[in-house]
Symmetry: C2
Subunit: 349 residues, 2 copies
């Protein structure tokens, strides 16, 4: 591998000039620059990352801590990881992968000066890693909003806004009784982060729209779906709108409606809150609020880079979701010829 000195010699300049050509940190005459660039080209020169890191205290690598086991939706994670990797390259950075189960990973890579920024996924409401990260004092972005971010920046889906949009959409169509079936009880218990925001968002939206609302968790199974539907209907008897925030349980919910003979959207309108990108093109999906995993990943990188470049204030950014109408919502009851498509009962995911 050629070194910066080889390049300097080939170009007939000093090593520092080559360095400055590369970094652009001082002005270089066009002629010199051309000679240097040509030498770099010819020799196939690449700066040695370690040497550069040693001299500059910048590694141009950012760490991404990913939940690998058991975790929620693999598609979302992959989309997200892809977005981070892609965006990081645009900031001239590479991505070092850290896994959840290696608890000391964060200390190791920062202490060892392997990376100069951190993005940590899947932050829970009282995540113990937040303390660690705050102590490390590196530019950090949390995916998910903990109770106390301790001066760190956060990004997440705007769950509150998403459920609000869903409710508003249904209310605008004329629905007066709206049910929400959400995460499994365990999920809620485990990392109530978004669950809280969803709950508050639903309550606020229902109140603002002046409609009746009821919430229930739901397990991803037919009995689970039956129970959840029964629960919200018990509370709101004239329920005609349904917001589902549980991709796993969605098929069961639709299957239960079908087996009851409840037509969608003629009898009940359905809006699903789910990850964008994942299985985006599958036929037969309901109207949905799409959570933009890609945009969250991109935002996370931009935010962490901003802090690296010296931006001072930590920020919390909630990326809005948008509604995609796929014909599973319509005005309630006798509302003329309502939606177009109807949900086929035996659909699979």
């Amino acid at each position: 591998m050629p070194t910066i000195n080889d390049v300097a010699e080939a170009a007939g300049v000093s090593a520092s000039t080559v360095s400055y050509v590369l970094s652009g940190k001082r002005s270089i005459s066009a002629a010199t620059r051309a000679r240097v660039e040509r030498a770099i080209e010819q020799l196939g020169y690449r700066p040695h990352a370690g040497a550069r890191a040693l001299a500059s205290s910048r590694t141009n690598v950012l760490a991404l801590m990913v939940p690998l086991r058991q975790s929620a939706d693999v598609n979302v994670i992959m989309d997200f990881v892809g977005a981070v990797a892609t965006r990081a390259r645009r900031h001239d950075h590479d991505v070092l992968l850290l896994t959840q189960d290696e608890t000391t990973g964060l200390e190791r890579v920062t202490g060892g000066s392997l990376v100069d920024a951190l993005i940590v996924m899947d932050i829970e409401l009282d995540d113990p890693r937040v303390d660690v990260l705050a102590r490390l004092g590196r530019p950090t972005v949390l995916i998910g909003v903990p109770r106390d971010p301790r001066g760190l920046s956060c990004v997440d889906f705007d769950f509150g806004g998403a459920v609000g949009t869903a409710v508003e959409h249904l209310a605008a169509l004329g629905h007066r009784g709206i049910g929400f079936v959400g995460s499994s009880p365990d999920a809620v218990a485990r990392r109530a982060g978004y669950a809280v925001r969803v709950r508050d968002g639903f309550r606020a939206a229902v109140a603002a729209a002046g409609v009746a609302g009821a919430m229930s968790p739901v397990e991803a199974s037919l009995p689970g779906a039956r129970a959840a539907l029964a629960a919200v209907r018990a509370e709101v008897p004239d329920l005609t709108g349904l917001v589902v925030h549980n991709e796993g349980a969605l098929p069961s919910v639709l299957a239960v409606l079908a087996e009851e003979g409840t037509r969608v959207p003629q009898d009940v309108s359905v809006v699903s809150i789910e990850a964008a990108d994942a299985s985006q093109h599958l036929p037969g999906r309901p109207t949905s609020i799409d959570l933009p995993s890609l945009e969250v990943g991109t935002a996370a990188v931009d935010m962490v880079m901003a802090r690296l470049e010296g931006s001072v204030a930590p920020e919390t950014r909630l990326v809005p979701a948008t509604l995609t109408d796929r014909g599973t919502t319509a005005p309630p009851r006798r509302g003329g010829r309502a939606g177009t498509r109807r949900v086929s009962p035996s659909r699979r995911r």
Copy 2:
């Protein structure tokens, strides 16, 4: 951050002694070692990765190139990535993430001495990256076996063995007519790597068992499944055994059998070849040959490390799959009380 000199001073030794305590590359008296270790502990010392890389030409980082877009099974990829990351740590290495779409990534990270070994997923039969990798001259392991590995090591599932095991299992039960429905036509066309091995494996196994066999590709849809079944039955009229190598199409195949009134396993025995770990615990899965993504990831790391440590010969390792009986195979026709469970028609995945 404390440096090695701080540690040396605190311990009352020279910097090189600290270095040798850390590397174990020469013997140190117990007393000295204890003092050094205590100083390291107290100061919270971590060697600077860049400095170490510069001095030793070893980064302790390996690059993993992952297919991010469109790719086959996300679950498999995640399992695999997890296995690589975990195993790499046991070799005291970290993992740098490279994505498929950044074509120059491999040159960049090797040229820049960012990593000292490479694992590249999703290698196709005539993958252009193989040439590049061979030229780079770093320890490399390919996931997937190209037509010409050009001196690089490869790991992959033993697809040939997997289909062989499936056929043998069915033949041993007494089946004399066995069908194989496999990847979608496009997949086969695109990266015929494993498709070829599957085909040859099936042919060989069928011949060895002395039974009749027929193969067909299959699309992941009900019409696709019908067509594939018709195709293999046309060739083997008394077909009683079915091997499915297409996780996406499996539900459709089972649904078609159910709608025909064909009982599993009484009328037809079914074996699926699919990724292990992914949705391992879902109920209602058929007897399967499980492709061990986790083991392939682990093997990939071990192999690349072996080459880093100086092992000379490149090797190609095919990780065997094992059969898990879930009661969807039984002796054909009047064969007494056959399998136990039966496949429910409306199952989802």
